[in-house]
């Protein structure tokens, strides 16, 4: 096993392992927030006579 072989093997194996473990961690332990209901404030309410003011 040459130094080049070690470098390629460790780089390749580490890269895919980190990617896999990282994704798995996010999927298992990082639950998405529930979809938030949009609450309408006074600024969101538009009436037909707005343009007259």
């Amino acid at each position: 096993m040459t130094p080049g072989g070690w470098i390629i093997m460790l780089t390749s194996v580490t890269a895919v392992t980190v990617l896999f473990v990282g994704c798995l961690y996010r999927v298992l332990f990082h639950q998405p927030p529930p979809p938030t209901e949009k609450l309408h404030g006074i600024d969101d309410i538009h009436t037909p006579d707005e343009g007259d003011n």
């Binding site: 080049g4 072989g5 896999f20 990282g22």
Partner: protein, 539 residues
């Protein structure tokens, strides 16, 4: 349309990720990848491999996930239905028919290979594969087992063990698919995939602790085995070799199951708010982990440790898997246990893939023809049984299997993937597709991928496909620039044609025509339902 059928959906995000990963992880991860990497000198190969992963593998995967979920919200679950919804043209559904033909036809021969795996696992468990130390004995055993010496051999009395194993795995596949998406595929993959990784890790530890098993051959040890797999050759020169790029891109492409029609079908069962970005990346990452970190450290190093370079060089996928490795495991301590574990690992990898090949067909028969689950399973079972019997009967030199694998398992997949990435980047429009992909996403895709998906991925894919056609079909010699048609072409046309290859292509044409006819019927049904939906008041 799905309105006529019960609406199925994945029960959990982990379930769909494991199902897609199970579809991707197959025999190629443990047999084909290590062989290619060591053949082309791992340094240059891995550079080309990772570039291909980033430029075509992951982007096409995201495109399939997003398009499948998008069409699924419109009530379509099958590839023809998905393309009917995406491409609002009467020919759209016919483009999608490739997404049914590819997995169904691949299933016809893949399930036979799956039967070899469970067969070898049971032979190791019962001690029937201790055949001495001559690789020729193992080679003869395999050829007799699969019937590679003459057509019809596997059906003959006294030599039909492979057919018995085939019946077992065939029924098991259809039993699981009959149970449905959640109770069948998702349930099975939730157990099979973790089991596969655990078994692979056990075998990996065994291989890495072998030391120098034969004191008379001190140059054959773990380190030299790993060196044979991973030592770079002259990587700067090798990177200029177009064949290396073709091999690396092809491996990424086929390994990730993009262009099969499977991911797009699976994604159509997602709910509208489900993430596709992280899920798509996770499924690809799981496949890469199994391929590089497990497959890359087990197969070739183990073969080298016991047999040296001569035992590894020039072996194809089947040669390495079913001739060389049985001998390697027979030479290890506890051969029955580790031989069984390795082939059971291959069986798990194969069955999670073969299950995914049936779902696109089931989805099509149910939503296209309005069949119930029992009817669709029966009809697909009959179709695949006929194809499977064809492959098993014409087993001499595995000609039928090889021909189908080339024209469907390679050429059609390239075509399907090209259609998907071009539609995603250009047909749907990259901005709309980008927004659709990020709906409900748990992570953002780097913006550079907008450019990659629109320009780089299609160009890269088309160049690789063109190179493939020129070299593998028309026989272009890149060094000399001369053409000499390859076996796949000359066995169809010319003096040295093979009647089995011609039968196989004729069978393929009939299969395509049959599914095109079914698609036409399905299209009429969808058109009719669409009209009814548009004019409810007129009733």
């Amino acid at each position: 349309m799905a309105d006529a059928q019960p609406k199925e959906a994945w029960s959990s995000r982990l379930g769909v990720i494991l199902a897609v990963a199970g579809s991707a992880v197959g025999l190629g991860n443990f047999l084909r990848f290590p062989g290619l990497a060591s053949q082309y000198g791992s340094g240059a190969f891995m550079i080309a491999y990772f570039i291909s992963l980033v430029l075509i593998g992951i982007p096409i995967g995201w495109a399939e996930w997003a398009l499948g979920r998008y069409a699924g919200q419109q009530g379509f679950r099958s590839s023809p239905g998905i393309f009917y919804a995406l491409i609002r043209h009467k020919w759209g559904k016919y483009i999608g028919v490739l997404g049914v033909i590819i997995p169904v036809v691949i299933y016809m021969y893949y399930v036979y290979i799956e039967a070899w795996c469970i067969g070898y696992a049971s032979y190791f468990a019962t001690g029937h594969l201790s055949l001495g130390s001559d690789v020729k004995t193992y080679s003869d055993f395999w050829e007799n087992f699969v019937g590679a010496n003459s057509d019809g051999f596997a059906f003959s009395t006294g030599h039909n063990q492979a057919v018995m194993f085939l019946l077992f795995v065939f029924v098991l596949n259809f039993y699981l698919i009959y149970r449905g998406l959640v109770a069948g595929i998702e349930f099975f993959c939730k157990y099979a995939m973790p089991a596969l990784v655990v078994i692979a890790l056990v075998i990996l530890v065994r291989v890495l602790t072998l030391g120098t098993p034969d004191a008379a051959k001190p140059d054959q040890n773990v380190l030299t085995g790993l060196g044979f797999m991973w030592n770079p050759g002259d990587w700067q020169t090798q990177l200029k070799n177009p064949q290396l790029w073709l091999a690396a891109a092809g491996q990424i492409f086929f390994s990730l199951s993009v262009g099969f029609g499977v991911i797009i079908t699976y994604a159509s069962y997602l709910k509208p708010e489900n993430d596709v970005v992280l899920s798509g990346l996770s499924a690809s990452a799981a496949n890469e982990f199994c391929e590089v970190a497990l497959g890359g450290l087990i197969t070739v190093p183990a073969a080298y440790i016991f047999l040296g370079a001569a035992g590894v060089v020039g072996q194809g996928t089947f040669g390495l898997g079913f001739k060389v490795l049985p001998l390697v495991f027979a030479k290890m301590p506890l051969p029955g246990l580790f031989g069984f574990l390795f082939f059971f690992l291959l069986f798990l990898a194969a069955i999670t893939s073969s299950l995914s090949m049936l779902q696109p067909g089931i989805a099509f028969l149910e939503e296209g023809l309005g069949l119930k689950r029992k009817q669709s399973v029966t009809l697909l079972g009959l179709i695949t049984a006929v194809g499977c019997a064809f492959v098993v009967y014409f087993s001499k030199d595995l000609k039928a299997l090889d021909t189908l694998d080339f024209w469907v398992g390679t050429v059609c997949i390239f075509m399907m993937a090209t259609v998907i990435i071009i539609y995603y980047g250009w047909g749907m429009g990259i901005d709309r597709a980008w927004a659709e992909t990020h709906r409900g996403a748990e992570m953002r895709i780097p913006r550079i991928f907008k450019f990659i998906i629109k320009y780089v991925s299609p160009t890269f894919l088309i160049i690789v496909f063109a190179m493939f056609v020129l070299t593998k079909i028309f026989g272009l010699d890149v060094a000399t620039g001369k053409f000499a048609p390859t076996g796949y072409m000359s066995e169809l046309i010319g003096e040295h044609s093979s009647h089995v290859a011609r039968f196989t292509v004729a069978f393929l044409v009939i299969t395509i025509a049959f599914f095109a006819l079914l698609t036409s019927l399905a299209g009429s049904r969808w058109d009719h339902e669409k009209k009814n939906l548009k004019t409810p008041e007129s009733k």
